[in-house]
């Protein structure tokens, strides 16, 4: 178990052609083992490029990515081994399913790791357990619902038992029920294995409620890095980058405009509710003494 660190990481697409585009620039940060990190930023901010560097899917144009102090892009072997340590779930991962059965699809990763058949079997069952799809083992992935496919695809990555689980928009396109289920599965995996989780999300409310740390990307740079409390106490900066703030924060801001300043950080509903109740009780108390 070790931390992931990037040092002055940058990436340029189509270098040397007219289509040259710098996607990320000078990103330096360290993610300690076990942290729950949210990555936010609008489309084209570089966040997707950033996460593809965490398991050496992309080769840095500049800078380094280190895992436990070692450069993950050292050689061909290290670039392959890091895939087992850092599991990456792409956006709409259900599009990667290809095997005839759910079981075989989840087993694809562990088989690539060249584990013994018993070990592969154990991992497939364990991963399926995390997302609750054991009853679907013999079914064809193609005939399942969108939410089920999504969870199977996530199981396919979890089956490699990554120490770091990176997910790009894991709830995109799902209904509220489906979203809730997936987030619950991810939380479980983290709690039971102590894995680091890095999650890219447009959903500010979810990012605010679940994560311990937020990385905000803007125009290829790491614009903000802090706890949700720190980040969301600067809503004006987020709005200036064209990002939304969590809806409870938006309500708090609208209250502030009306001369009602709430105390304490407000980025989840329980916080907002508590703050309003405090303000109400204070007022009631005043009214009572009059």
């Amino acid at each position: 178990m070790a931390e992931i660190r990037t040092e002055a990481l940058s990436h340029v697409y189509s270098a040397g052609t007219p289509f040259e585009r710098t996607a990320i620039e000078a990103v330096s940060l360290a993610i300690p083992q076990g942290q729950f990190v949210g990555v936010i930023g609008h489309t084209g901010s570089g966040k997707s490029t950033f996460i593809q560097h965490l398991n050496a899917l992309l080769l840095p144009s500049g800078g380094r990515v280190l895992s436990g102090g070692e450069d993950i892009n050292r050689d061909k072997k290290s670039r392959r081994d890091i895939k087992w340590k850092v599991g990456l779930v792409f956006q709409y991962p259900e599009y990667q399913l290809f095997e005839e059965t759910v079981y075989a699809d989840i087993a694809f990763g562990p088989k690539n790791m060249e584990l013994s058949p018993e070990e592969v079997d154990q991992r497939v069952r364990e991963a399926a357990g995390f997302v609750g799809v054991e009853s679907l083992f013999e079914r064809s992935p193609l005939e399942l619902s969108g939410g089920q496919k999504r969870r199977i695809a996530i199981a396919g990555v979890i089956a490699m038992r990554p120490e770091v689980l990176v997910l790009d928009e894991p709830t995109a396109g799902l209904d509220p029920e489906g979203c809730g289920q997936i987030m619950e599965n991810i939380k479980n995996y983290r709690e039971q294995t102590g894995a680091t989780v890095v999650i890219v999300s447009h959903d500010m409310d979810g990012a605010a409620a679940l994560t311990e740390r937020l990385l905000v990307f803007n125009e290829g740079r790491l614009a903000m890095d802090g706890t949700p409390e720190e980040i969301f106490s600067r809503p004006e900066e987020l709005l200036a980058m064209g990002l939304a703030v969590p809806r409870p924060t938006a309500i708090a801001l609208a209250l502030k405009e009306r001369g009602l300043e709430l105390d304490g950080p407000v980025y989840t509903r329980p916080q907002l509710k508590a703050a309003i109740l405090r303000a109400w009780r204070a007022r009631e108390g005043r009214a009572g003494t009059c």
Partner: protein
């Protein structure tokens, strides 16, 4: 009173399914209205949408669009030119390699005269704010832009109704805002009838009517304010309520005297501010 779209005891079963996707559905949509349809995955809301322009026709019952039965094959084009459809995946509904050629597709199919097509295409692209991109290749546009092109492609047909089947499900928040505000503007400026299908609660608050689909039937029908204020019922249906309603509901349970129908952020803040002032 007859609506511009009329469902009469509509049943529908996909050939490969055992259960019916629509189970005896009655519905009348008034001309000029903005109806939002909400429901979890598999509730039948997409099937409902596909009945509105004869992509699907009922296995039982009937659907009338502007008085025309959608099952009448000889009137197929009459139905479809009245009802424009926008679908979920922006990539899979753009047929041409150049934005303006795509927008011209429907009027070309209808045999509209070339000069008139040009006029409609330019007008439609201006209405969705994509005129400057008319010569671009669609695959280089953002998701929100692609959906706006799809909307332009539909309005170039000059339909009376526009049906959008989860048009924002695959978009980022910015794209979502773009598409919603485009549709709201079209409604304001052209008085079009809009049917907006979604699973995002927040997108429904602008509608003047909200339908909740559940198991192939309409489970709730009313204004967004009426329906969202029934928080318990919404949870029962596997849906959520907008953040504003959720907050107001929880505060009411603590004994605060707040209305549940303040759906927009500003209205919600105003209600709370009034109480605390």
């Amino acid at each position: 009173m007859d609506g511009i779209i009329q469902f009469e005891k509509v049943h529908y079963k996909y050939p490969e399914d055992e259960r019916e996707s629509l189970r005896g559905l009655d519905l009348s949509i008034r001309e000029g209205s903005f109806t939002a349809v909400l429901g979890r995955n598999g509730s039948g809301k997409s099937t409902l949408a596909k009945h509105m322009n004869a992509i699907l026709t009922p296995t039982e019952g009937r659907v009338l669009v502007g008085g025309v039965d959608t099952a009448d094959e000889s009137k197929l084009l009459d139905v479809r030119r009245q009802v424009g459809m926008v679908f979920q995946n922006p990539d899979n509904q753009i047929v041409a390699n150049v934005v303006e050629d795509d927008v011209a597709f429907a009027p070309e199919n209808l045999g509209v005269e070339p000069g008139e097509i040009r006029r409609r295409v330019d007008a439609a692209l201006k209405q969705v704010g994509m005129y400057e991109h008319r010569l671009h290749a669609p695959h280089l546009l953002s998701g929100g832009q692609k959906q706006r092109v799809a909307i332009a492609g539909v309005i170039a047909m000059e339909p009376r109704i526009i049906v959008l089947d989860e048009p924002t499900a695959m978009l980022d928040p910015q794209g979502r805002r773009e598409v919603l505000s485009t549709v709201l503007r079209l409604r304001r400026e052209k008085g079009m009838t809009v049917v907006w299908i979604t699973h995002h609660m927040d997108e429904c608050i602008h509608a003047d009517r909200l339908l909740i689909m559940d198991q192939g039937q309409i489970a709730e029908d009313g204004t967004p304010a009426e329906i969202f204020s029934r928080v318990e019922r919404m949870k029962e249906l596997g849906l959520d309520v907008p953040e504003t309603t959720g907050l107001l509901y929880e505060l009411r349970q603590e004994g605060l005297d707040l209305p549940l129908d303040a759906l927009e952020t500003e209205a919600c803040a105003e209600a709370i501010a009034q109480l605390l002032r």
